[in-house]
């Protein structure tokens, strides 16, 4: 294992209620500028894995090191580190009582990372980049699903994160809106953002992913480049999985 990993995960374990083993000893590294795509059947633990990375789920075992800090240490103030880990959810989770602009600026302003003016200027630039400059004053329920998810992505970007975590960002979208969200993510990848993406979009995984991780029953079964995973799968479970979805 190399030492320049942005996130290093060692023997990560997560059990729910002491009985259900969602993660059984996951070890992985995510490097700067890398796009890692996590695939696997439902219930394989891939979302849990992602949610452990910023401690939305508290691991029951193992160590997660982010930028050289063991964030699983109870003495570490996780809030500081979460500021550097953007997260995009399946169900967008925009704040319904705030305008798009407020959604994007509330965290950097209230956390005193930026002045209101600076935050709004930056938010408007980001909105322009994702083609939603005219929706700054709209409320989330006035937006389509695809627009909501693009807003959710730029909201996370307003914190200027070092890594972006995507938890099935297109799974709740109508099919015709998947493309616009994936386009934003591809653009982000081209700009060199470090990304961990849990998704069922195999096309995206193949096109954008630097590395693909296949998980099943709480373990990493196989990982490699998209070519290795999709064209030359080794493990029978991966072969079966790909046979079902491709």
């Amino acid at each position: 294992m190399t030492t320049d990993a942005l996130i290093r995960v060692e023997n990560l374990e997560k059990t729910f209620g002491g009985k259900i083993h969602a993660l059984n000893g996951i070890s992985a590294e995510i490097h700067r500028g890398e796009v890692v795509v996590v695939i696997g059947p439902s219930g394989s633990g891939k979302s849990t894995f992602l949610r452990c990375l910023n401690l939305l789920e508290l691991p029951t075992g193992g160590v997660i090191t982010f930028e050289g800090v063991d964030i699983t240490d109870p003495k570490v103030n996780i809030n500081i580190h979460r500021q550097k880990m953007g997260m995009v959810f399946q169900h967008f989770n925009l704040f319904p009582n705030m305008t798009v602009l407020k959604n994007m600026t509330v965290a950097p302003v209230k956390l005193k990372l930026k002045t209101r003016e600076a935050a709004e200027t930056q938010a408007k630039q980001l909105l322009t980049r994702v083609g939603l400059a005219d929706r700054a004053d709209a409320y989330p329920n006035q937006l389509s699903g695809g627009q909501k998810q693009r807003i959710a992505i730029v909201r996370a970007l307003c914190m200027e994160p070092d890594v972006m975590l995507f938890d099935e960002p297109t799974s709740a979208l109508d099919p015709e809106m998947v493309g616009e969200v994936l386009d934003v993510m591809k653009q982000l990848a081209r700009e060199g953002m470090t990304m961990v993406v849990v998704t069922h979009e195999m096309g995206f995984a193949r096109e954008v992913g630097d590395r693909v991780i296949f998980m099943d029953s709480g373990k990493i079964i196989e990982e490699g480049t998209p070519e290795q995973i999709f064209d030359h799968p080794q493990n029978p479970r991966l072969q079966e999985f790909l046979g079902k979805i491709l």
Binding site: E57, P74, R82, N97, V106, A107, K110, Q142
Partner: protein, 242 residues
Amino acid sequence: MQAWWENIKAQFDLNFIQRSRWRFITTGLGNTLLITLLALLLGTVIGVIIAGVRSTYDKTADGARPSFGRKVLGFFNGLCKVYITVLRGTPVVVQLMIICLVIFSWSDNGVALASLAFGLNSGAYVAEIIRGGIMSIDNGQFEAGRSLGFNYLQTMWYVVLPQVVKNVLPSLMNEFIALLKETSVAGYAAVRDLTYGGNTIAGQTYSYFMPLIVVALIYLALVMFLTSIVSRVERRLRSSDH
């Protein structure tokens, strides 16, 4: 018809004009409003604190590390549960009498004691309304707040509570309308509220019809006025529903 009208006039004169008996009504009304207002303030403070403790305990239950702070929170959570169970599980008039006639039997400040009793009682109901409002907010809102780097309290304050206020405001205002009517039992502890005032007049004049009808009409007018405010607030909230 003529005789009936003369009778009403005589009744009115006897019950309100003679010996300035209307003062029982006005002081009683003043006390009722004062008790309701003070109980409302106390109930809100208690309710917010209890709801804060209870929902923080519930919200942070999953994946919480066992720690001293967690134990302290658990202790207060248990305390709040007992408080809610007792205060909601016994009649408010009994609580009032215990406070006025047992715990503070040495004090004769009936209005203050009644405010305390109704405030303590109302706090239990307000707590559950607010807690329900907090728990009804989708957990994704918490997670989004936390993922942006807000700590628990910041997430509550900036993200969750503004949504909660909007959701529970009508229920809270209805709770306070109910509180206004509930204070009518204050007379059980010899607190001179509106109902007690009407009852006093009736006791002096041996005529119940006029004083009690007037008392009832005053309550009705107050409740109708407050209800109209609630529906206006509800409309405003709905129209700002984005």
